[in-house]
């Protein structure tokens, strides 16, 4: 063993030996030093977590290990042997498989074809497919990873697609499996299934490297954990000897409050009311079925649910992006007319601001600079010019104020928004919507893909708005987020509100059942907190 290895808990030689050893890995992209003298050893047969904020260098490091990039300097040992991994097929031949955050599957291929792709036995397909079918059957049983080999990828759920990715790696004989943010796209149930699979893999002697920013997952499943910050490895510790608070502090470099601090809500009059709303999606399928609820001034109503159960369509209808089939959206006592392409503009004018779920597709024009994005949706306001002319000076001045108030980094209003990190992009959208002082804020996935430090900031801003007496409708697939922010939780399943819960008293299990559509609990009513303000 290398005597220079930093003194860390996991550094003493493990019983099963090291699966992977990285020494002094360096990688630069132009001026960015993405990996700085990284040392990392991963014991065989363990689940090793790697945490760090976006841009900390986790993915770069794993891409080096997987042969997607080549390190500028440093040594990689696989099973004790020094290797220079030149490309991903080389990594695969060394038994290193990777499940990417965005799946590397061909959507219109069958499961079997995806598994065989790149690992064919010969020029003709049939023998390969036959062998893969048999082998798949064995793997499915061994690791409890059921999936229909003939299903087409685009027809199966995201959780199933992830299984295909894992099977793909196992089929290629992976001994070490790297998973990059595997739970970002999964429902809580699917995440539990995944963890069960990972434990089985560990029992079978496989090594798992789990990249995530969710500390709860690290605590729940890993044996040891490494923390990266700004391209450097700041610590490697045994999971049992650390705490989420300590990890968060290591990640961010300062103390972070993981729990949202907020006072009791003081709800006032009803500001937003949704009555019997029915919404259809682009295919004409009814996604929101006769939904009614109300949001009062000074409260946050959270809509929980597994993604794809109508929350997105609900958000889009309320904010005027999608026509409702029937029903009303009432703002401050007046029914909003949201039909037509300018529905969103009318909603904004009436005082309903919207932070869309997908900030890159709907919240920003990523090819535009920061200041241009800072006025999008409000570009016709008299603050930013007269008639057809844009007052660029005023717009830039306002943008600079936003950047300062929301601590957007880098603080450069002329930079394209595509060059900002996820958290800073979200701050740009939030600043634009919040600073217009709306009565109602409708906000989808406020912290999806956002760093821990920025999450804290965004949550505090949302609470601040609530305390200023705004009505806030929050949709998030992160149950933790809803539970910590919302004053009331509405659970949606299959386009219907299946129940309401008080975040203070409802357990995760109860909410999980409601999200799965098992609503005995909901039918009984969650008690006083489930009071709906109907006129």
């Amino acid at each position: 063993m290398n005597p220079q290895r930093p003194e860390t808990a996991a550094a003493s030689a493990p019983a099963n030996g090291w699966a992977i050893e990285l020494e002094q890995i360096n990688k630069r992209f132009g001026a960015v030093h993405a990996n700085k003298d990284i040392d990392l050893s991963i014991a065989r047969g363990t689940i090793h977590g790697i945490v760090g904020e976006n841009g900390a260098g986790k993915s770069t490091l794993m891409s080096i290990l997987y042969g997607f990039y080549t390190a500028d300097s440093g040594t990689i040992r696989v099973n004790g042997q020094v290797q220079s991994i030149t490309d991903s097929s080389h990594a695969l031949s060394l038994g290193i498989g990777m499940v990417h955050q965005h799946f590397m599957l061909v959507d219109n291929f069958s499961v079997l074809e995806n598994i065989v792709l790149g690992a064919e036995d010969s020029g003709f397909l049939k023998p390969s497919l036959d062998r893969a079918r048999k082998e798949l059957d064995r793997l499915e049983h061994e690791y409890d990873l059921e999936v229909d080999p003939d299903a087409i990828i685009e027809d199966i759920s995201v959780g199933q697609q992830q299984r295909v990715e894992i099977l793909k790696a196992l089929y290629r004989g992976a001994e070490t499996l790297i998973l990059d943010e595997p739970t970002g796209v999964l429902t809580p149930k699917e995440a539990d299934d995944l963890f069960r699979v990972l434990r089985t893999l560990r029992e079978q002697g496989k090594t798992v490297i789990l990249i995530t920013h969710k500390l709860r997952e690290i605590m729940a499943i890993t044996d040891s954990v490494s923390v990266m910050r700004q391209g450097q490895m700041v610590a490697t510790v045994r999971t049992s000897e650390t705490s989420p608070e300590q990890l968060a502090e290591l990640m961010v470099g300062r103390r972070v409050l993981l729990r949202v601090e907020k006072d009791q809500a003081k709800p006032g009059k009803t500001l937003l009311e949704v009555q019997n709303l029915v919404v259809k999606d682009d295919m004409g399928i009814t996604r929101v079925k006769d939904v009614s609820f109300a949001v009062r001034a000074g409260e946050i109503v959270g809509i929980a649910g597994v993604s794809g159960n109508g929350q997105s369509e609900l958000l889009e209808a309320v904010s005027g992006m999608r026509d409702q089939a029937s029903g009303n959206v009432i703002l401050n006592g007046d029914a909003l007319s949201l039909k037509g392409d300018d529905g969103a503009a009318r909603a904004r004018a009436a005082g309903l601001a919207h932070v869309p779920e997908d900030r890159q597709r709907m919240g920003l024009v990523t090819n535009f600079s920061e200041w241009e994005n800072a006025i999008l949706g409000y570009q016709n306001s008299s603050d930013y010019g007269q008639g057809p002319f844009l007052d660029i000076g005023a717009a830039k001045k306002r943008a600079a104020e936003h950047v300062k108030l929301f601590d957007v980094r880098p603080a450069n209003i002329n930079l394209k928004t595509s060059l900002f990190s996820g958290g800073n992009q979200q701050k740009i959208v939030l600043a634009r919507e919040m600073e217009r002082d709306p009565d109602v804020l409708v906000i989808g996935q406020p912290t999806r893909g956002v760093d821990i430090g920025a999450i804290e900031f965004i949550h505090n801003e949302i609470i601040k708005m609530r305390d200023e007496g705004k009505a806030i409708l929050l949709v998030s697939v992160e149950l933790d987020e809803i539970r910590s922010l919302a004053d009331r939780i509405i659970v949606m399943f299959d386009g219907v509100i299946v129940g309401e819960a008080d975040p203070a008293s409802a357990s995760e299990g109860e909410l999980g059942l409601m999200m799965a559509g098992i609503n005995d609990k909901a039918a009984a009513g969650p008690g006083a907190a489930g009071q709906e303000t109907k006129p």
Partner: protein, 321 residues
């Protein structure tokens, strides 16, 4: 209309759809690999010129064909370098090829042969001759089946048989071989191919090479099989029609064959109708000649439904970050 008239239209259909079919299959390979190919026309034209010129000089149709295929291949590789290696815009690369071919063939033709851009007429051996299949003469007398075999199936240039054989070969390659699986994958999700340890660039070049070779045969067909020597702009937009047929066939080989036969049929009908009169008024030749093109527009606009091509089509592959 009697049997012989029908057969003669169908016979013309086969002859006229052959270059379309070859170009369409050519386009299928590169488009399935994720490279839009609007340059089919230019590659065909260049091949037609090269085949005509070389056949005229050497007096050999086969050497002419080889020359046509080589020139088309070189053109395809040029386009490949622009679209794959240099990650240029594929549409513009294709348009550039078309313009280059249109200008260069006329210019070189005039410089070399001084016949207004034409290549000299081909003599015996310089062009392909129709081949009679076995027993064609013997069964010609058998009612119905005889004429069909003699007129329709037998008596075409060898390139015609190659074209239709290529349909089966392409279908087999695409769906039953490792290369086909990878080809289809790289047009849909090059990232998946890359992470599976397969070179996206190599795969796309392989596709472009096949496209070049098939376009070469298609081009040669114009000048040294169907025609006798190269004439200015002799492909007359067939490359674009082949592209339309490819989209209409949703990038599948067997539907591509039927679509090309349909377009070929329209063309055959057009020739047949050229002296047709409507209510005592002669229909202008130009109007009838425009018919296949007009129908192409109508078919594409109205009947095709939603044509979803290979998802990664038109996008050069760059490793992320």
């Amino acid at each position: 209309m009697d049997l012989s008239a029908i057969l003669s239209i169908l016979d013309a259909t086969i002859r006229l759809s052959t270059p379309l079919l070859l170009a369409c299959l050519a386009g299928l390979y590169s488009e399935r690999a994720g490279i839009f190919d609007i340059g089919l026309e230019g590659k065909m034209l260049a091949a037609a010129f090269a085949a005509g010129a070389v056949a005229a000089i050497t007096g050999s149709a086969w050497i002419g064909l080889a020359a046509g295929m080589s020139v088309s291949l070189a053109t395809a590789l040029l386009q490949g370098v622009a679209a794959i290696t240099l990650r240029g815009n594929q549409l513009i690369a294709g348009v550039a090829i078309n313009m280059l071919a249109a200008g260069l063939t006329t210019f070189l033709g005039q410089t070399w042969f001084s016949q207004g851009g034409r290549t000299p007429p081909l003599g015996e051996g310089g062009r392909f001759v129709p081949i009679n299949l076995p027993f064609a003469n013997e069964v010609a007398g058998v009612p119905i089946i005889g004429p069909i075999y003699y007129e329709l199936i037998s008596g075409h240039y060898i390139l015609v048989y190659i074209a239709f054989l290529m349909v089966a070969v392409t279908a087999y390659v695409l769906y039953r071989t490792r290369f086909g699986l990878r080809l289809r994958a790289v047009g849909e999700s090059p990232k998946a191919v890359d992470t599976a340890g397969i070179s996206v660039v190599k795969l796309r070049y392989q596709a472009v090479i096949i496209t070049g070779l098939l376009c070469g045969i298609a081009g040669a067909y114009f000048s040294i099989a169907q025609g006798s020597g190269f004439g200015n702009n002799m492909t007359a937009g067939k490359g674009y029609i082949a592209l339309a047929a490819l989209i209409f066939a949703k990038w599948k080989p067997v539907p591509a064959m039927f679509t090309c036969l349909l377009f070929g049929f329209l063309d055959a009908l057009q020739i047949r109708l050229q002296s047709a009169r409507l209510g005592g008024v002669e229909i202008p030749v130009q109007a009838i000649q425009a018919l296949p093109y007009v129908l192409t527009v109508i078919l594409l606009a109205g009947f095709i439904g939603k044509a979803v091509g290979p998802k990664a089509g038109g996008v050069a592959y760059t490793k992320e970050r």
